[in-house]
């Protein structure tokens, strides 16, 4: 499709978008722990301080709550701030600032104070980093009015959604899966916006609608290719925007496929999928739905050991099994698919997305 076009990773796309916005807008500040260190947040802020100086790329003390409040104060005063956390968990220390001062100030001040802050937070996974560095807490942020919550899945979106977030006058949270940083794809050099108010239809299909986000989209596409061989064509929707949530596209798709599978990066229970299902069920938006199902993390912390992590995380395997189950395929076909899948199984281990991944953490 994009032959001869520039292919880069999502982390390079993020870096590029940030750099271009720094070029464009003088009052744009990047701040965070590690933003101007030699690894530059997995490369996403690499060397920016050399070009823009350390008053625009501000290295922060290890003070997440303070720095969030500081970023909010800065952005109330006509700055645009990009705050970066190497792990979602570090942002847990700053939820009071995010929920109260970032999310509510525009409303409470009757439209006076805008808080145009963008907060990037990275979900850890792999290499046994364990329970406190691997949580995927998007539901918690998505519950709070006043925030916008994005989870890009492609390098193209990574760049364009970041740009749109930076142009947005509201507090926008971007949650990036650690493994998504490695995803490669076509990215135009010039800056551009993409919408940040709805999901995207990735692949047309007919038997079942699969909704996923972030890194899981990669797993779903992989699974889908296998299913295609057997005449099963899932329609794949990249959720992209968790708040504001717009389920129109899902509804449309479901009217056709009648089967819905939601694949979450976070805990299944009280997760993102629930609101989608609730809206569909509540408003009877689709007639004669045949099946609805969710795949998400089980109800306990992430174990470090790779032997346990293997069963903890959900991947193409669970997706394929679930589709087979939802579509009620006959036993023979089922067996065929599964044996074919086992042959195609990605050879990388469960705790690494590709052979290069051994940190940084």
């Amino acid at each position: 499709m994009h032959k001869n076009k520039r292919i880069i990773t999502a982390s390079e796309a993020i870096l590029e978008s940030t750099e271009q916005y720094l070029d464009k807008f003088k009052n744009f500040i990047v701040i965070g722990e590690g933003v101007n260190d030699p690894k530059g947040i997995f490369g996403t802020t690499l060397n920016l301080f050399k070009k823009f100086g350390n008053t625009r790329i501000i290295e922060s003390p290890v003070s997440e709550n303070g720095i969030t409040g500081i970023s909010i104060g800065l952005s109330m005063n006509h700055f645009k701030v990009l705050l970066v956390h190497q792990r979602v968990e570090f942002a847990l220390l700053s939820l009071e600032q995010i929920f109260n001062n970032a999310a509510k100030s525009f409303y409470v001040s009757n439209g006076t104070h805008k808080v145009p802050i963008v907060i990037r937070m990275i979900i850890g996974r792999g290499w046994g980093q364990g329970p406190a560095h691997s949580q995927s807490l998007e539901t918690i942020f998505s519950h709070i009015p006043g925030l916008k919550v994005l989870m890009p899945s492609s390098p193209y979106d990574a760049k364009g959604m970041l740009w749109s977030a930076l142009e947005d006058p509201n507090p926008v949270l971007i949650i990036e899966h650690r493994w998504f940083h490695y995803v490669r794809g076509y990215v135009p050099k010039k800056n551009y916006k993409v919408n940040i108010d709805k999901p995207a239809l990735l692949i047309k299909g007919n038997n079942i609608t699969i909704v996923a986000n972030s890194y899981n989209v990669t797993e779903v596409i992989f699974s889908s290719k296998i299913l295609n061989k057997f005449g099963i064509y899932p329609e794949i929707i990249d959720l992209r925007v968790l708040r504001p949530l717009n389920i129109q596209l899902i509804i449309q798709s479901l009217r056709k496929t009648k089967n819905l599978l939601i694949v979450e990066t976070g805990y299944k229970q009280y997760g993102i999928g629930t609101e989608i299902i609730a809206q569909i069920s509540e408003n009877k938006l689709v007639d004669k739905i045949k099946s609805i199902s969710r795949i998400g993390l089980p109800d306990h912390p992430t174990p470090s050991s790779r032997s346990l992590a293997k069963k903890y995380y959900r991947s193409s395997k669970e997706i394929i099994y679930e589709v087979v189950k939802q579509l009620n395929l006959n036993l023979e076909l089922k067996k065929k698919i599964i044996s074919y899948y086992k042959k195609k199984l990605p050879s990388t281990k469960v705790d690494v997305p590709n052979p290069e991944f051994k940190g940084p953490f």
Partner: protein, 321 residues
């Protein structure tokens, strides 16, 4: 009285009289939101804010009435806010703990203890980055220093030499709890020193002394940007939250109470002026009369103002570009 002295007097009295009227009228149940009155603490706000320009910014907490008024916040908009009316400074959405009047640099008040402090430091950073010569003042109580975020913000202000004055109004209590039960002592300059921030501790009830000290601090900051920590020891005359006196609950001892009542900031200042023959009882009465008239009018305005339109309820959830 020279102009300055007069302005200070007017400011002090205005806050006192507004708070008194809120206290007296509260039982009518037209102001249906929690109120944390500044009675007894007026000199802190007035002494500090007197030297500020309009472009200097003030940030405050739940006990923000005095800061709002001392920074020349619109009185009607304040009382409308307390009444939940549409001309309120937040359109009735915030209530008494969210006072702000951006047009005069009264930027924001926030009721979560200490939550405002880093926000104010962020504002100071914006001044520095824009190379503005203005300063930020953030007011908070003694309990705010128990929140870790104060330290995170102070450290940042220190390493970046930000133009901000941290003003701690030490009234010795967090709700009903004396400082003795919360911290090793009440010399809070230790929390400035530990971040290599200059500091000063003084009475919060002597308005002229606060004024002169603040003036010095400000001119030094304007020459050489860096944070300053100012501790003002003061006392609240009524209950933590609400219009009444609650000393029947016996959480504050009588000696303490009477010491501070004797050192009431308004009395101290009027006595000082009188002693210097700069103020007569008659002039004072006249001023009070005039101020009360303005305040009465503002209350009337607030009473008669309409409630916010019900269909505005879901406005301003998200900003449009």
């Amino acid at each position: 009285m020279n102009n300055l002295e007069k302005r200070i007097l007017m400011n002090l009295l205005k806050i006192r009289l507004v708070e008194k009227q809120i206290s007296e009228r509260y039982a009518e149940q037209l102001m249906r939101c929690p109120v944390h009155l500044s009675l007894g603490q007026e000199a802190c706000a007035v002494g500090v804010c007197q030297s500020l320009n309009i472009a200097d910014q003030v940030y405050s907490s739940h006990r923000c009435h005095s800061h709002y008024l001392a920074k020349s916040g619109n009185l009607k908009a304040m009382l409308c806010e307390l009444h939940g009316k549409r001309s309120g400074c937040c359109g009735g959405r915030g209530g008494s703990m969210h006072l702000m009047d951006v047009s005069v640099g009264m930027m924001l008040s926030i009721p979560i203890v200490a939550s405002i402090i880093p926000v104010a430091v962020g504002a100071a950073l914006s001044f520095k980055l824009k190379k503005k010569k203005n300063i930020v003042v953030v007011f908070f109580g003694d309990a705010a220093l128990e929140e870790g975020v104060y330290h995170e913000a102070a450290n940042f202000a220190s390493i970046h030499n930000l133009p901000i004055i941290f003003v701690c109004e030490n009234n010795k209590y967090s709700c009903f709890t004396n400082i003795e039960n919360r911290q090793p002592n009440d010399d809070f300059t230790r929390f400035a020193k530990c971040h290599k921030i200059k500091s000063h501790k003084m009475s919060g009830n002597k308005v002229m002394e606060i004024f002169y000290k603040t003036k010095d601090i400000i001119s030094s900051i304007k020459k050489n940007p860096s944070p300053f920590f100012l501790q003002l020891d003061t006392y609240r005359n009524v209950e933590h939250c609400g219009p009444n006196n609650d000393d029947y609950l016996n959480y504050r001892n009588n000696n303490e109470i009477s010491y501070w009542l004797q050192n009431d900031p308004i009395n101290l200042y009027t006595e000082f002026l009188k002693k210097k023959k700069k103020l007569s009882d008659k002039t004072l009465d006249k001023i009070i009369l005039k101020l009360n008239k303005e305040i009465d009018e503002a209350f009337l305005f607030a009473k008669n103002d309409k409630f916010p339109k019900i269909d505005t309820l879901d406005k301003f959830i998200y900003a449009q570009k």
